[in-house]
Amino acid sequence: MIERLYHSLLRIRRLEEEVARVYATDKIKSPVHLSIGQEAVSVGVCEALRTTDIVFGTYRGHALYLAKGGDLKAMVAELFGKATGCTKGKGGSMHLIDPEAGVMGTSAVVGTTIANASGYAYALKTRKSDAVVVSFFGDGATEEGAFAETLNFAVLKRLPMLFVCENNGYAIHTSQAKRQGKPDIRGRAEAYGLNAERLDGEDVPGLANHSAEVIAKLRAGEGPWFFEVDTYRWREHVGPGKDYQLGYRSEAECEVRIANDPVIKLAAELPVRTQWRIKNEIEAEVADAFRFAESSDFPDASELMTDIYQESTDALTTA
């Protein structure tokens, strides 16, 4: 499992570092909200999921999309605005989707997919499926009405659903303490009747093991469940760089996190030759994905008026 977790973590890290590097060339045609520093939450939880399980996420969704098995080439092509992108260049970085991998959508409007995830979970429950739904969102989303409304609905209908709050401490540039009178997200979830826990977002094997136990309970009808996971965003809210010069947080705060980097910690548990094999595999795959994106075509002008309604989608598929 450690090898798999390391592979998944490093793959996301390297992909995003490459996105950040290429960003300056203006080849990427979409604002990017990098997950760097937060990858471990998606990797740990998704380790416990099957392809048939469903996830919903946020505009900071690269890590979730990849950890759940979303197509890497289609993602990079999407960032480049190419026709081969996962949404044909129409959604960009903030609206990644891969139905075959169970990634059912990410949103730029904070909190919206929490409610969407509950509806999907309701559908699975009525179909007597043993698949589960995991909703990923940030600490900011817990201030939205949809969050509270969805917690209530999930408990009311005993949905096979795991809520994962990636608490990175900031909504854009505003700290949780400046936004929440009582900054106890776990406690709020518990008050609604969920089993709710606070977890360490830098302990990937711990997250994976615990997620596996909880997901098994959800499959057995013992949902819903809630994780508040402590994590940290290393880069700026949007864009490839760092933002300590803005003064809303200190670099020292981040240095503690970097020193505790799960990528380094997991590597230390693997033989050196294994580390190198994985690194080389990932470098080749990432380079290949960027080549694919670069060499793909932009969509045809006719694509502007497709995918609006079913009829315009049909027109496209029969064209």
Binding site: P99, G105, V109, I114, T313, L316
Partner: protein, 384 residues
């Protein structure tokens, strides 16, 4: 129950084909197979029957919303569904319009076909984020990889002091946004056929009901059928002026046509039925003949459905022929409760007839028809 009046044309169901210029109603039940009987049903029963038939036909169809499973069953439109289909497929929700709309979208993404019911359209404002930012956008922003087959039923209130927050017609807000369809049937026949079509559609559909239309009665085939998106219907043929009546204002336009008949003006009345996609062709063909158009909406005129229809006709027919056009709708103020003021807030058959007569005669002579008892308004008598 108030008296039932003015059934909008007894043989209403005539989808106007491109080839037919005159008013040529299809026989009811045509194309529905042998043995399909046609009964007189209320709008309420037509909605209920469509939901029931769709739920039998497809077990992915479910109905939910505030109070759909309570004893009053949304004016009867969901009556009996809980008993027949059980609480998993028919359930009342928490008072959470935002999340429940989001949940409907999630169900639709999973392949279910939810019908989410709002007893007043005003409550849709609590659901706008999910409807406009997610439901309408999903197909497009996910590059065609997502279907959102959901129906949102929303009722416009009128009469007996519904007031500021129970009377709004907000359908034009949804017409503004690509990716969501809007339908506003005015007859029991269309109520059934449009709801079936909306349920089977793979896009989100806003299904607009007017509280006063619930009392309408009319012929409805027993067998299942659909009234497809994007087709208007000429409900009364005429050559002097075109009246387009949206939702409940269709009834008032038919009433106006009767008043106008009394002074020798023959109005053509059109029910657009589907507002998005809108059948502008049928409206333009009519206006090209009459040269005069009044669009009457159960909503404000500013940036509304009436404004849109007039604008499209103007774009299409400017320079083709001389045109006179007008919008009618709510007075540009907040709906009051006291009957004296409320009466002035809405257009009605008499004020529409007066405006039409002035337009045809090209002068304002102050004519207003005498109220005719046989055309009495169907009023909701209240109290609740």
């Amino acid at each position: 129950m108030p008296s039932q009046l003015l059934e909008p044309t007894p043989q209403a169901p005539s989808l106007r084909g491109k080839e037919e210029r005159a008013f040529a109603p299809l026989l009811l039940g045509e194309g529905l197979g042998r043995g399909s009987s046609v009964r007189t049903l209320s709008f309420v029963d037509a909605v209920r029957e469509a939901a029931e038939q769709e739920m039998v036909r497809d077990d992915s169809v479910i109905v939910f919303g505030l109070d759909v499973d309570d004893p009053k069953a949304i004016q009867g439109t969901t009556h009996g569904l809980l008993e027949k289909f059980g609480p998993e497929r028919v359930f009342g929700t928490p008072l959470s319009e935002d999340a429940m709309t989001g949940a409907a979208i999630g169900m639709a993404l999973a392949g279910m076909r939810p019908i989410h019911v709002h007893i007043r359209m005003d409550f849709l404002l609590l659901a706008m984020n999910q409807l406009i930012n997610v439901a309408a956008k999903s197909r497009s922003m996910f590059g065609g990889r997502a279907n959102v087959p959901m129906v949102v039923r929303a009722m416009i209130g009128k009469s007996w002091g519904q007031g500021a927050q129970h009377s709004q017609g907000l359908h034009s807000m949804f017409m503004h946004v690509p990716g969501i369809k809007v339908v506003a049937p005015s007859t029991p026949y269309d109520a059934k056929g449009c709801l079936a079509a909306a349920v089977r559609d793979n896009d989100p559909v806003l299904y607009v009901e007017h509280r006063l239309l619930h009392f309408q009665k009319g012929p409805v085939p027993e067998a299942s059928y659909t009234v497809q998106p994007g087709k208007a219907r000429i409900t009364q043929p005429g050559e002097d002026i075109t009246l387009v009546g949206i939702s409940y204002m269709q009834v008032e336009c038919l009433r106006a046509a009767k008043y106008l008949e009394g002074i020798g003006i023959r109005a053509e009345v059109i029910d657009p039925i589907w507002l998005s996609p809108l059948d502008i062709d049928t409206i333009c063909e009519s206006v090209e003949r009459t040269g005069r158009l009044i669009v009457v909406d159960t909503a404000w005129t500013n940036c509304g459905a009436a404004a849109e229809i007039v604008a499209q006709v103007a774009e299409r027919l400017q320079g083709v022929r001389d045109l006179r056009m007008k919008r009618m709708g709510f007075a540009p103020t907040t709906c009051p409760t006291t009957p004296v003021l409320e009466h002035l807030f809405y257009p009605n058959g008499r004020t529409i007839a007066a405006a039409a007569s002035d337009m045809v005669e090209e002068e304002e002579c102050g004519w207003m028809p005498e109220e005719r008892p046989e055309l009495q308004s169907i009023e909701f008598k209240g109290p609740f």
